[in-house]
Symmetry: C2
Subunit: 194 residues, 2 copies
């Protein structure tokens, strides 16, 4: 990817996070990048294309963060994986803050999202099965596994809008509390150590 | 409340649910009510005022649905209460579908929402404590009670946008599946019957 293309994405992410995609225009972004609007349009035909690219970037960074499980204790895996996940959510916080309305406005983004998050559900279920095999979690029914995976993904996706609805500020500290929520979710299914 | 005022709210709810608050205009609503735009403005100064009133109506209906607990078994209470809650969510589905963006656009609505949902959290914690006293749930730590109450409210608030994100249709059947999710949430904390 060209340096300018990357720079546009970095600056757009900063501006979208700081304000919202509703108020930040491509002219804003071009100005903050110290390039002309024409140069920006050469790389991205409109704001939606920038949002789409940022979304793809987020997904691929999240994929890269899936830990190498070798030589790690289950507790390390779980804690590190959750931390990396919520760090990624914080980095791309505008996506999570505006998720519902972004998808409502862009059907291609919605289609991509559907595929990505269906895949995430399967990945989380895979993690759970691994923890069952490792005797960290007790054997789960298919229904329980589905519920836990879904609730974990749910916390990943809507934790920020939830904070706003109940009147808590979506600071990094509060967003990272999502890690704790998923630990509490798993707690009753953990095997009691002998 | 005048008949016209009520009619405007009923029709607006139907139209917002069917389409979205973004595309439905006050002119649409007036036309569907077979009244003039001027008559509509006499009752509600703009679309935001209609949305605000619908929100208040939803909250007060939800408050009325909180069950009288006398002469009922805990299972009945839980199942009926959850069903009534998700019926209410379905009835006002546009609110839940668009929650984040509605609050982003209207700070008075956000303020009201914050107060209402903080209160809901306390109410759900009260329910949980009652179930603990009734020996339906095992004694919970403050942290567990907080987590369960929050996750239950979370399911109430963002279940519809979640369905859309993972590519499931937000039909009544799928929305009502939220009842099951909250039952699965409570399951590991239930006392095993002797």
């Amino acid at each position: 990817m060209s340096t300018t293309k990357n720079k546009i994405l970095d600056i757009a992410l900063r501006e979208f996070n700081k304000h919202s995609t509703r108020v930040v225009t491509t002219n804003h972004i071009a100005e903050a990048c110290t390039i002309s609007p024409g140069n920006l349009y050469y790389h991205y035909r409109n704001k939606e294309a920038i949002i789409f690219s940022l979304f793809e970037k987020m997904v691929s960074e999240w994929d890269d963060e899936v830990l190498n499980l070798e030589n790690k204790s289950p507790d390390e895996i779980l804690y590190q994986q959750l931390n990396k996940t919520f760090e990624c959510i914080w980095k791309y916080r505008f996506v999570h803050r505006e998720l519902a309305s972004l998808l409502d406005k862009d059907s291609a983004l919605k289609k991509m999202c559907n595929l990505v998050f269906q895949r995430r559900l399967k990945e989380i279920e895979g993690f759970l099965q691994l923890f069952e095999q490792m005797n960290v979690l007790r054997p789960l029914s298919k229904e329980q596994r589905g519920f836990i995976a879904q609730t974990a993904l749910y916390y990943g996706l809507f934790w920020q809008p939830y904070l706003e609805v109940v009147g808590e500020r979506p600071t990094k500290k509060n967003v990272m509390r999502g890690v704790q929520m998923i630990q509490l979710l798993l707690e009753p299914y953990q095997r009691v150590s002998p």
